[in-house]
Symmetry: C2
Subunit: 723 residues, 2 copies
């Protein structure tokens, strides 16, 4: 019997890979020689896994064909044609080395910055290259593939420090089924009362905690019961952890410390609309309407032009979204002025605050370990993004190099929620009848990454006044812990739950979220300086003034990296300006943009704690480094299981000169999250943001002369789109 | 000649009062015996002062008649009928005392809290009373007027500590013209090159800096040139300060220390649409549309019902907006549950950071000195608030007790900007096809106070998930300082500008904004406790875990007020819960709401600095006091020129018990503002907010079962409203 189950699950594994392949545009031919049993299993799983949505598909966006895509801009991502070529070249390469391999990352190797800056529309594209990270024979390789002519591998590096590349999707899915090869595991699951057919398992990055975890690519797998709910996350088989070798899929160790902990009930955990017995219709329909259509255009698939902004936008398997060459129009001269060469989500760090066996290692680095873009699922039109949104697809490569399309991965839309761009009324004091108000409309670039349970909504929001707001919303499902307790009255005060009792037998474990952004600012040119404008309390001299104290702005230019390792201080506040020291406004202020902090929760783990060594890029909220092509991923290129030798902290500690240089600013948005019952079974979105804001960049308010809304220009709407 | 000018300006004063009267619904009969000259002056001033808007009036909201209003709820503001009655009773009262008087505040004296809580719709209203603050014979009086029967004054108190009542609008306008009575002043103005006809003056509260300012109600007047711009704020006659006795209108002192400082140019300062030579049309029309209308109703003029929320809303001359009896529906039981008994903007404190003669005293308390509601001007439909907004009028009393209507003072609207209420997609890891997303729609209550130059946009935003966001946007016009400098290259490094050179001869002076909110939380009942949930770093014992450190939530109930004097700490973070200690969730957590800080700029002035003694309510970001009817205005009932004996700091230092009591939470939003050129000549809005958020208040996510958007329910719009 056990042998049969094993067999079924091997087929399962097969099915899962199949399902992933299904979602890609170039479908492989179906397997030809499978037994009827497999087909049955397959069907059953389709039934149980594939959620049938009762509602009709909403606003089906046109599925774009990408086979004919060609790159038009030096920063355009690799096309399907190029990815196919990379696949062939890599195949040839490893064939010649006589090695099996898996591709962990295939992305454009961007041309040198100066080449991109010199490029103008109409110029021939600089040579197209692919940056590839591969694993072969237990080693990680960094390759450059030159796509000119017949193509070749022009760089092949190994010998990196500790750590492994981002997992492939195939790594993750195969890891979740690996434990089923263990009879011990299967027995334990059944003993815990879970039917193996109801099992859902997650691949949990191990972090790095010491020598026993060296020289082996490891992952921990924990499992849940899918019975009676799609929200298996709320039904942990607590304390059961399977250590799996990611390369061999071998089960290295099984720990089971939760035998006394019941599987929490499925009741009230399913969040799907179709699963609700009833629903609350609280509101009449409401929508952002633009009868003349949106005000932005997207040229050549990637160049977004809106109002006074222009930038290049592309999906990325690791960062999710990359904004490049962001420029804003000067209302005085009409010229497009550089603001940011490149901005992206560099790394995430999500340490859970529970040191016990099944939890201590949960210290995720979602970009470097899982691929923030790989986890960005198709957006749901009308709900993830409003009407008139434009959807952009991601084109990525599977582990074998086959390109696939992640449709609707990013959306672009204009937002208006009733906010005010600027206003002034004259008051009763002057008696002048002035009421001038301008509404605030913004452009949002959005993606939503579902890193297993959690959903991260990342918005790049552009304002006409020159401000860029970078906002992260957290939603999705908590990572919860099973407990024997059903009520707080069973718990004595001394006991540490490591979180909040959310429901019977369910604890929401306390955790932090840190999202670190890479911001290669180029304020009116590449060479910039970082200035701390400190607000200092000054005292007046006796007799000087009836006032004793006031605040004075004192400017300090950061000379080297250590001057710009910024821990925010509420009681010793500063503004943080990125200025162009060679360019001044008409009245002589250096032109600049400032980083306006928000989401300032600070990391409080001990800096010598193993996870914090790896997450050391969160030791400061702001850092500034000199531009260096190889320093883009704050937790290291190989973040998985690394020891922390390749983090932003290490780079910054070199203390290089940063004054009047091409500099990169790093900002970390932080959240402390003590879960509460409202987060069960799915969390209302919590957001934080920080801003990049012009500071003496423009000569004056750049939206002084925009018109207000007029009644006769607004839409005329009826209540039914189908009418 | 001078006498003639004086005469003209006396008429001016008259005109100004007239203009104010004009804006009220019950128009007084026009003055009958004025000379032709007055009429001419009047006409001229109308021409120059009254900005003719070239655009047609947009979406003219129906002007409501208020003469027939009757109160329907114990908290309803005084009606016109009631105000008229108050006027008569007060007239009689002071006639019997044989005294002249001016009314500085007339508002409902709210019934005792327990009476309001016991009241149900349909019950007779508790006795209606008016709380009146008057000045008579140089003294301030606090009166209660009982409106039952023929009515009478039932309380008449004097003998308060230092300080004076909020200025009347008549105080402010008359002060601005008082300097014209001084030949010295007029000569100086002309010598500075400003035609007296172009003069615009502002009444600037003096603060309190010592004995010389005692026993006399004083104000400082500073003036500007209106020539060639409506934005006179950018054209200061720098250094000219006139000290005026507010009661006698006598010029006490003229200081003129700016003779070498030119009046900055008018060029590029006018922000009015009609004054632009050209305009930038950046965007296609965009609008929030609700073809079936908004989802809220307003019962009996003041009771707002929306989605799962219900609250009482009224305009107030001092606070601006008062939200009372905010209740949210429990999705499980269907009952309306109390969240907040009363919330309002208690006080503002805006210290400028310049200790020199013409600036040191600028330490405004905009609610207590100017009346935050008195300065809240009519909102501009389609621009201040989107389509489908409901506008509420304020009904206030002039200094003589005559009621007047401030139309469209508050708006209520639903906002949807494309945000997400909650979401989850299943990731490629599990292969489940789930994409569940719910859009976020909120209800916004907005007012915008124009305290002379600055505009404060105050939003109370209600979310269906139970969160209340209180947001303050700053826009309007900077208070600027004239300077001889036209370029930074003229200034040596040692010189302190106290701000930023924004344009030739214009400095934007550094300042802070603090907005302190009164939040009488009643979480499921009046008796609540305040709990600090501190996230503390814990260390594991050797061998306990591969982890060294983690964060633990430690709960501390505040016993007395000093336990709840909270200075926020980034590196020793806490959550701040208001809980009901007698009510627990199903699994035993105390039900609560938490204060989620934002806009955390801290006041850094020396606590012994005279302005900071008065603004001592900003010494902490959070305070908690036991409910006390008389403690509502954080800077004291008589904030004007007070010495700081009646502030929140003083009350809180009594250190009263606050555990399991009816408690009031105070939160201060803070902004440091170093101006930049983008703020010239009018500032793009800068916003900050804090939240009141349910924490184990609901058993689970209260919006689990709301539906997503469906295509066929959204509006069908054409591009022209006039079509």
């Amino acid at each position: 019997m056990e042998g049969k189950i094993l067999l079924r699950y091997i087929f399962f594994l097969f099915f899962t890979v199949l399902l992933i392949l299904f979602s890609i545009s170039t479908l492989p031919s179906p397997p030809s020689n499978t037994a009827e049993e497999v087909v049955d299993t397959y069907k059953n799983r389709i039934q149980s896994r594939k959620t049938v949505l009762l509602k009709k598909p909403t606003n089906p966006t046109r599925r774009r064909r990408h086979s004919a895509d060609v790159p038009r801009h030096p920063l355009d991502p690799l096309t399907i044609t190029e990815l196919n070529k990379v696949q062939k070249i890599i195949q040839r390469h490893y064939y010649s080395l006589n090695k099996d391999y898996a591709l962990h990352s295939v992305a454009l190797e961007e041309p040198e910055k100066k080449v991109v800056l010199a490029w103008n529309k109409g110029d021939p594209l600089p040579p197209r290259k692919a940056a590839v990270v591969a694993r072969a024979s237990g080693a990680s390789h960094v390759l450059t593939v030159d796509l000119q002519g017949s193509g070749e591998v022009t760089r092949h590096e190994t010998g990196h420090l500790s750590g492994y590349p981002t997992m492939t999707v195939e790594d993750m899915t195969s890891a979740t089924w690996a434990p089923l090869a263990s009879a011990d595991f299967n027995r334990t699951v059944v003993e815990r009362g879970v039917d193996l057919a109801d099992l859902a398992c997650l691949p949990i990055s191990t972090g790095w905690f010491g020598k026993s975890e060296e020289k082996r690519r490891l992952i921990k797998v924990q499992c849940y019961s899918l019975k009676d709910t799609a929200n298996f996350y709320m039904r942990p088989i607590e304390g059961l952890t399977v250590l799996v070798d990611l390369d061999t899929k071998e089960v290295v160790q099984i720990t089971d410390k939760g035998k006394n902990i019941p599987i929490p009930s499925a009741a009230n955990t399913d969040y799907r609309f179709a699963a609700q017995n009833s629903y609350q219709r609280l509101l009449n329909p409401i929508s952002i309407e633009q009868p003349k259509g949106p005000s932005f255009t997207i040229e050549d698939n990637h160049l977004v032009k809106w109002a006074n902004w222009e930038f290049h936008l592309k999906p990325d398997p690791r960062a999710g979204v990359i904004i490049s060459r962001a420029m804003v129009r000067d209302p005085g001269t009409g010229e497009m002025r550089n603001v940011m060469y490149k901005g992206l989500t560099s790394e995430l760090f999500v340490p859970y605050m529970d040191p016990t066996d099944a939890w201590y290692f949960k210290t995720y680095m979602d970009a470097g370990e899982y691929g923030f873009g790989l986890q960005a699922m198709p957006l749901e039109p009308l709900n993830d993004c409003p009407r008139n949104a434009y959807y952009m697809d991601g084109v990525f490569a599977a582990a074998d190099g086959t390109p696939y399309v992640r449709s609707n991965m990013v959306c672009v839309f204009e937002s208006y929620g009733g906010d005010i761009g600027w206003r002034h009324s004259e008051s009763p004091i002057t008696g002048m009848e002035i009421r001038e108000v301008r509404p605030k409309v913004t452009l949002v670039v959005r993606m939503a990454a579902s890193v297993a349970n959690y959903d991260y909504i990342v918005d790049w929001e552009f304002q006409t006044d020159g401000l860029i707001r970078i906002k992260v919303g957290l939603s999705g499902i908590l990572m919860v812990k099973g407990t024997p307790y059903a009520n707080m009255n069973q718990i004595n005060n001394q006991e540490n739950l490591y979180g909040t009792l959310l429901s019977e037998n369910v604890i929401g474990v306390i955790h932090d979220h840190y999202i670190t952004f890479y911001l290669d600012m180029d304020v009116d040119g590449s060479d910039n300086s970082f200035v701390k404008v400190n607000l200092q309390r000054e005292y007046t001299s006796p007799g000087e003034s009836p006032r004793m104290s006031y605040l004075k702005a004192v400017r300090n230019v950061a000379k080297t990296e250590k001057d710009a390792q910024i821990k925010l201080k509420l009681y010793d506040p500063s503004e943080f300006h990125v200025i162009n020291p060679t360019k001044k406004t008409r009245v002589g202020n250096p032109v600049g943009y400032k980083v306006v902090p928000g989401g300032t929760a600070a990391n409080l783990l001990d800096p010598n704690d193993p996870p914090q060594k790896r997450g050391a890029f969160t030791n400061n909220q702001i850092w500034v480094t000199p531009y260096n092509e190889s320093e883009q991923w704050a937790g290291g290129l190989f973040a998985y299981q690394n020891h922390g030798e390749d983090t932003l902290q290490v780079w910054s500690n070199r203390d290089r000169a940063i004054e009047n240089k091409d500099i990169v600013v790093w900002y970390t948005l932080g959240f402390h999250h003590i879960p509460c019952q409202e987060d069960f079974p799915i969390m209302p979105t919590v957001s934080s943001s920080f801003d990049l804001k012009p500071v003496n960049f423009f000569e004056s308010n750049p939206i002084l002369n925009i018109p207000p809304n007029f009644e006769n220009e607004l839409p005329n709407c009826k209540s039914d789109a189908s009418a």
